[in-house]
Symmetry: C2
Subunit: 389 residues, 2 copies
């Protein structure tokens, strides 16, 4: 294990259900913070928190231009130093990385990271704009490419290069829907079959309806503490033992390949560089599957599976609950949902409960080491984090 | 002086001129990064940079939803871990704080913080919206209050409580315009007289034209390095020796007073807590003067002047270049300009050149210790940083 100065604990985590919810974003945020504080075994007071990070895109335009201050308002702690962080769909994990650095630096003992997004009440034309700008505008969006279209290009190329059919995309969908059906917080608690996957409407060829994550509302929050103070709050902390970040050209046309996201590779390499375990010891991964193709890319880009092994690992059930390395047992973005700013924080909530053995029907037995992976846009930003008991 | 682990050096700083500029935001960003790298005495390669922070509001809607990746693109370093940070008008200093923590944590040796905003090409109705949401929406903006109106309420109450006339606001304007006239990078290089101040059009009573900062385009960038590597890049680093943050309720109606910004007080207290010098040793301050009243509030909220002393210090010339504690020798937001995301980074550029004796006509003689202060919206967020030679 690394020395204390490389360890930060998660001592609490909470989230709302993800879904098309009636609540305004502030209410979602409040609930997630409440759940996170309430989950701290030995109790915590808002006054214990020294720094706050809010991840949100303010999807659709939410008329709050200085939103980080909401953290202080909802905690009853006006005064708290706060920051609003945003890296498109990777905003939540970006907040986690900032908090991790701030605690390692000793600038605070305890930090709160919260993410929130309200998407379901945005009209579809505006939604298309807000999703589209997470990719590239000049050469993609304004040329008519939707955000699903961007990932469709990646999928088409992937299937062609590897001589695969859409069965492999369907296998990801079937698996993650099966997982999500076990998760009370998931947006889509509905198993689907390969036949249903193939028969569903095309969204952007070759991606069909069940290849795409839903448009979700939701919020998630985690409480982090320096090792020196962590056991004041819980006897069963979950340790953050690695953080990596990466970026890439915004536009697909500027990249050398369409079948790998180098930002993920960079992030994964950095996260493992000083980690107390290697890739072969990971027992559970939450990977960014905004579309089924994204999970396939991530299986190999994170290095969890050797080059070329992702499809077979998927179709053979190795990434299923009960398999050798379960991926997205929460249901993933695909089935649990993808409220943008909340997504990366929600992944950490899943890992927190899994590594404490609190994940109920979807528990990965004996899980002690986990990885989360969160992508911004079509891979122009990415973050990878590692966790252990 | 504190131990090495509390020190991070600024080894390079550069900015564009602030003003109504023809360049697109990406070109402004590129120029500021180029200037910052070129200012590193012993040379630096983009490959030396380990983490990047981009501060911008994307004012007016700039169709780039994952903008931090532009840092890697402009540096020729796709792959760089990057984050987009935003705290309304305090975004730049929020980026600085993150970079400071990341370097203190040892997560990188060198970091780049850049801020950019393009405001002048936004139509005025949309501009009113974008400025308005930096304050509060539900109880202020939608009730008809403009952003200048928010600060006008603070000014009106301040003048009434202290039994002052608008002469004191005019004194701030005259001083900062005189300073800005000496700064080749300033937006408004034009001295004004107290008579001109009083005769100008009202914007939001009691604030008149010369009480308000201009709508500016611009970018600024700084390169920071851990103490362990700083002298590889320069023999004359400027040290960041303190960082403080604070927040407050978004809406004025939720606060206890209209004549103080507690977020600034919290931030200043934190910054000085571990600093190697006290408030009485500060020789130069860049304070957030989006409106003249904001500088008057900050003089006392930072603790640089005792309660009640701000107005007299101003009218007696103590805050002028050549006075006991020159404030906003760059011209401040008032005259140098206020391209939102760039502002807090631009303040650091000014301090960098001042503490190295490179500030030309506006040089504060013998300056060795400085403070910067950056406010988000009407004080819902604030950051204070301390610097020394």
């Amino acid at each position: 294990m690394p020395s204390g100065t490389h360890r930060v604990a998660i001592v609490g985590a909470g989230q709302t259900a993800f879904g098309a919810l009636p609540h305004p974003p502030r209410a979602l945020l409040r609930q997630s913070i409440y759940e996170a504080l309430a989950s701290v075994d030995k109790g915590i007071s808002p006054q214990d928190i020294g720094e706050g990070y809010l991840a949100t895109l303010g999807f659709g335009g939410w008329q709050i231009g200085n939103p980080a201050s909401l953290l202080g308002e909802e905690l009853g702690l006006p005064g708290l130093p706060v920051s609003h962080v945003e890296n498109a769909c990777a905003s939540g994990s970006t907040g986690l990385r900032q908090a991790y650095h701030t605690l390692l630096a000793g600038a605070a003992d305890v930090a709160l990271v919260a993410g929130v997004e309200k998407m379901s009440d945005t009209p579809s034309a505006r939604r298309r704009y807000w999703l589209g700008v997470s990719g590239e505008t000049e050469w993609e969006r304004l040329a008519g490419l939707t955000f699903a279209g961007v990932y469709a290009l990646l999928a088409e190329r992937y299937l062609a290069e590897r001589k695969l059919t859409t069965d492999v995309l369907g296998a990801v969908a079937v698996k993650n829907h099966a997982h999500g059906a076990l998760n009370p917080h998931a947006h889509l608690r509905k198993p689907v079959t390969l036949e249903q996957h193939h028969a569903a409407a095309a969204v952007a060829d070759p991606l069909r309806l069940y290849d795409c994550c839903p448009v979700s509302d939701g919020a998630a929050a985690v409480v982090l503490a320096r090792e020196e103070v962590a056991r004041r709050f819980t006897d069963t902390p979950v340790w953050v033992v690695g953080s990596g970040g990466g970026s890439d050209f915004l536009a697909l046309q500027d990249r050398e390949s369409l079948t790998t996201l180098p930002a993920t590779r960079r992030a994964s390499d950095e996260a493992f560089r000083h980690a107390p375990f290697g890739r072969d010891k990971v027992q559970l991964a939450e990977l960014h599957d905004c579309f089924t193709i994204a999970e396939l890319l991530a299986l190999e880009d994170t290095g969890l599976f050797p080059e070329g092994e992702g499809p077979r690992a998927t179709t053979e059930g190795r990434t299923r609950l009960g398999g050798a390395l379960p991926v997205n047992v929460s249901g993933g973005l695909k089935s649990k949902g993808h409220p943008l700013g909340a997504t990366g924080v929600g992944q950490v909530c899943e890992v927190f409960h899994q590594l404490r053995g609190e994940a109920g029907e979807r528990q990965v037995k004996g899980a002690e080491r986990a990885l989360t992976h969160n992508v911004g846009g079509s891979g122009a930003t990415a973050m990878v984090h590692l966790f252990s008991t």
